[in-house]
Structures are given as structure tokens and as C-alpha cells.
Symmetry: C2
Subunit: 249 residues, 2 copies
Amino acid sequence: MGSGNVATHIAAALKNAGHQIVQVYSPKYDHAALLAYYVKAEPIHDPGLLQSVDLFLVAVKDDAIEAVVAKLAEHDVPVAHTSGATSLALLEKYVEQAGVFYPLQTFSKVKEVNFKTVPLCIEANNEQLEEMLLKLGSTISQSVYKVSSDQRKILHLAAVFACNFPNYLYGIAQNLLKDAQLDFGLLRPLILETAVKVQDQFPAEVQTGPAVRNDQQTMANHLEMLQQNDYLQQVYRLLSDGIIQMNKS
Amino acid sequence: MGSGNVATHIAAALKNAGHQIVQVYSPKYDHAALLAYYVKAEPIHDPGLLQSVDLFLVAVKDDAIEAVVAKLAEHDVPVAHTSGATSLALLEKYVEQAGVFYPLQTFSKVKEVNFKTVPLCIEANNEQLEEMLLKLGSTISQSVYKVSSDQRKILHLAAVFACNFPNYLYGIAQNLLKDAQLDFGLLRPLILETAVKVQDQFPAEVQTGPAVRNDQQTMANHLEMLQQNDYLQQVYRLLSDGIIQMNKS
């Protein structure tokens, strides 16, 4: 169920691994048709046409999951959603066998993703389905984890700190450069290297910058350069203080 | 001058590009000897032994630059330092021809860096030296920029936002996962992809997460999950507010 970025990438990965996608459902028929064409499935826009298969995978927007799952109740088929922010319990309101098949990566339509490296978070309300989802996951990814609904909430929160906030800070840096007539390209290799470093090391081990050295003079200079911008001074102070405290403990 | 990470990577890149490194100076002779061995130069620990060459490159720690440059004054040789945080004016106190040859990347001894992709920031107090440093830079890097001392200060500040702070946020995410018995490996691909995305796009174009959607319910849930930690609540609020404001403007 679904024809967006997540549905497209999962369907393609499953198809490539030799699984059969029987039908693609979307309320927008042309969307369903496009994805169905790629994975050689039947497009449908009416849930009444659903066949009884081994598994329903629900990869629609978070706020559309419940409405879709309600329509699956009449079938005796296990249902798994692909959402990081939705509990297993929501599915259990409608279906007997409920699971989660959540790929922890940001997908965009334009950019192909190597699914092998995408961590998959699996959960189910019975052992048989858990086993099935773990097995299915391992055919498309090298990193399959059992993650409970409570853990998944934490993971989602942690991803805000690890990805959404860093991206916002990249944007702040870009604006500082722009004001000085400097090209963002100057910082791109450094941004990439910073992310590459923590692929085989832990962040605290590779922390650099004035705060971790407790270099008060440089931090004072930086705050002075930001004196026109209260907000950026606050961000600079708060994060630098955190790094200084981390280093003390 | 110097035998640390920056000196080593620059010397190796210059040597590989066909330039001759004549001498390597370090107050610690064995350090000088090791680098000199690799780049087929003469190691020296006494500045009195310096030969008059085409260029002195000073790649020592920021707080050691002045002492080293003071010893170069007697030679009529252009001097360039490799520091992001040091002005050109410091060199001009001691030598006539002063320049900057600053590679904007984080170097570690263990990890080899493809110097071709490292942005080089060039500055000089006369056109002839500027020309020479731009030309020298272009033999080892594809990204050579003219950057004034004032711009370099901004660049250094922007790098704190683009690299030091994001790395600290990766560490916060790791701690959140640890408390929930989750592996940091779950987030590594997402961290990498977030940095890869801004290599050919701008951060504001690819911002994701609850704040950019102004998803108040999710942000309230996240703040509740952080209720045991005032500091993390502050960080979450401050950065989310910034993203919400950015999106409004």
C-alpha cells in the first residue's frame, strides 16, 4: 500500500531480491500504476480488489496509515507498516498479526539508495511474523535489527539530533559564508569528512573545535563576530557549553 | 616548518605533485626525521641551518607560529602559514613577503586524504606571492580560493557550525540510543546520507524532520521524552525554533 518514496524504494529492493510484488495500492491510480509498472505488479486504487497474499506492507504517510489498515481488517493476512513514528498498537486495533518493517534512511525519488546498507527495524506481535519479517529484511539489507515500539520512538528522536539539526546547522554556516561572499563549496568536503569519521569511530573520540579545547579566546572572538545575531549567539553558547561539560565528565 | 598532521599531508601532496621539499624543520628532531624521510628532505631541528629556498611553509600549531616566523626574518624568502585562525598581519611583523596557504579539511595521521578535493584558501600581501601560492595550490587541489584574513575568520566560525557542532549532536544521539540499548550503527547511514545530500544541494532545500513540517504534536512528544534532561530540552527547543522561523521567512 503506497506509492511514495518509501514504497518505491522498498518495492524495488524486494523485487530485485526475487520477491513477488502482487499488487500496488494507491488512492491515486496513476501513482499506483507507475510503481506497479516498475515492479511488474497489478495497480489498484480500490482496497476491495486486494488479493489475500503473504503480507501487506503499508508504506503510506503516517497520518494515512490508520485509514488504510482499517480496510485490510477483513483479510486474514499479516500487516506491517514502514513508519518510524507509528506504534505497533495502531495496527493491532484492526488486524490480528501486526508488525513493523521500518527502513531508517532518508529517501528521495531522484537519488537511488543502496538498500543493502539501510538499517531495517523489525517488530511484530507474534514470533512467527517477527521471524518472517527478519528473514524478509535480511534479503534486502545487511543490517536488520529487532526494535520495539518504545525503542523506535527514541530512535526517531535521536535521528532529529543526528540529522535534522546538523542539516540546519549546515544552513547556518552557509548563511555566514554568504554574508562574507564565500562559496558554500568551501565547507562541503569538511561536512562530508565529519560524517565519514563517525562511520567507524564514536563522535566523542573525534570531537574538534575551540569548545573541546576549552579555547576561551577563540570562543569569545566567535561570539563577538555574532554580536548582531542574538539567536546565533545563543546556539553557539548552548552547544559550546555542552561540549565543554562533556569533556569534563 | 612542522611535522604534525597538516605538515605531513601538505608535504606528501606537494611531493607527489613533483615539488621538492628541501628541508623539514621541527624542534623535535625525530619528528622532523620521520617526515623528512617520507618526502626525501633534510631534517633539521635548528632554524640556523635553514637554506634560502623559494618558499617557507609554516605548518605548526597556531600558538607556535609567531616564534617560528621570528626565526625566518633573516632570510629573504616568502613565508606562508597554513592556519585558519591566524591573520596575515602576524607574519608581516617579521617578514616582507607574507602569505597564507590554508587547507580547509580535518586531517588525522591515520587516515589518508585525497588532497585534490581539499579546498585551499590563499592570501598574500603582494600579487607576485599570491600568484605563486595560487599556482602551487592548483598543483595539489582542484579547489583553490582567494580568501582574505577577515573572510578566513568567518570561515573558521562557519566550520564550527558545520562540523564541530554537528559532531557533538551525533554524540547526543549516540547517548540517547545507548540509554535505550540501541546500537549507534543504526544511525550511521542516515548521518552519512545527510552530509552527502548537501554535497550537491543546499541545506535549506533538503531540511527534514518535525520542525520544518511544524509538526507540533511530534515536537511535544519529543520534549516529553527529554523531560529528565533540561539541557537537551533547551537544545531541542532552540534548534527547532530556528528551523520553524527559517521556514516562515
